[in-house]
Symmetry: C2
Subunit: 209 residues, 2 copies
DNA sequence: GTTCACATCTAAGCGCTGTACAGATGTCTT
DNA sequence: AAGACATCTGTACAGCGCTTAGATGTGAAC
């Protein structure tokens, strides 16, 4: 019953309002889009007063950070799964596809994730180092399939290039201008694969230069 | 003195409030960043009442569209200039560098441009067709340097891939995680070129399939 | 040159937002 | 039983996008 108070702040009145707020935010995000995601609306959705969130988040940006954090975790999980269902060289392609599909299936969440990143001018800290992060997974997979881990700068550039390509495609894929191409190629999935292939960034390369 | 009234709406009281508002918005954007760009602030900056802009723009989004439009024009001009100062195969690289440098030098404007695009789920209409648009310039330059204009889908995929890569890099280049790489490579410019080279999208390729 | 139609701009106001603060309420410790 | 304290509410403020009604300047018609 008595836990050390240094542990996570125990739920009091509400149970776990912090969790409830993040969940409410994600519900709103999916139902109404990013523009409807006001702090007050989140509080309403969670059934508390407009001031209640301030006991769990410094400001609105910190709440959105928490939402974005969950987004990165889900993305990492989906990419892990995609990697495991592919073999050999195709693992890299699978990672790229999984990334872009995540953005397509969760456009509002993806937007919150990068809005937070742009404001901080940085990807979330956990992206560095933690091997289950989406970013490191791309790098590690490149090493597994031929990239030379000793050529550090080269490896990192390749990872960044791939990441940039995937992010660019993720943002552009929904644009109306490309609809006719999707039709010509036989569907969205084919379109995404075709562009990724064109980048050549998601196929294993042996280190050069 | 008497012009056909079908021409552009003549300036009345203010002179040309529409122009003044767009200019004020760009001034605010540069000075205070995107978050300070409220309709009321723009009106204040232009010295008119908060309701005045509504006689020239349907809503705030339409004002931002006008700002974004100017952004695309400036980007197109800078890319044209970059292309003309390079020769042969290096024109494509020059285009990529010019694109990313524009985003680096005008981060707030670049953000407004793509915020508008994301909301509309489309790049601005002028990007299609008009040969001086940034997008078509990339495509045309690819054709000039070896791409087969007959292989339409292939050419368009190559253009999209390049565009996605450049946009991704433009958004990521400012992130703190990459600062150490910039130092290692001898500066930001070297970093940008290295990533673009890694993409391989901005070097002329002969059509293949 | 006066009048009239109309484009332009202002003043005031609505409902919303993010955030601050004071005080009420529930929970744990003693 | 009492005190300490995290938690939540009520209220308030300035700023936001946007609407409406009315004032004001302008070019055209007579």
């Amino acid at each position: 019953m008595s836990q050390p108070k240094s542990a996570e702040p125990r739920p009091y009145h509400h149970g776990d309002l912090r969790r409830a707020l993040v969940d409410a935010a994600r519900r709103l995000l999916e139902a109404e889009g990013p523009s409807a995601l006001s702090l007050r609306a989140v509080a309403r959705e969670a059934g508390v007063s407009p001031a209640a969130p301030y006991h769990h988040f410094k400001d609105k940006a910190e709440l959105l950070d928490a939402v974005a954090h969950e987004g990165w975790e889900i993305l990492g999980a989906q990419m892990t799964e995609a990697k495991n269902t592919a073999t050999g060289m195709q693992q890299l392609t699978a990672l790229g596809i999984a990334y872009v599909c995540f953005a397509r299936d969760n456009p509002a969440l993806y937007r919150v994730m990068y809005d937070a990143a742009r404001d901080k001018e940085a990807l979330p800290d956990e992206m560095e180092g933690k091997s289950e992060s989406a970013y490191c997974m791309v790098r590690d997979t490149m090493v597994e399939h031929g990239a030379d881990p000793a050529a550090e700068a080269h490896l990192e550039l390749a990872t960044i290039a791939a990441w940039c390509g995937a992010h660019g495609l993720a943002e552009m894929a929904g644009f109306k201008q490309f609809e006719h191409l999707k039709d010509e190629l036989g569907g969205e999935r084919q379109f995404l694969e075709a562009v990724l292939n064109h980048m050549g960034l998601f196929q294993a390369k042996h280190s050069a230069c």
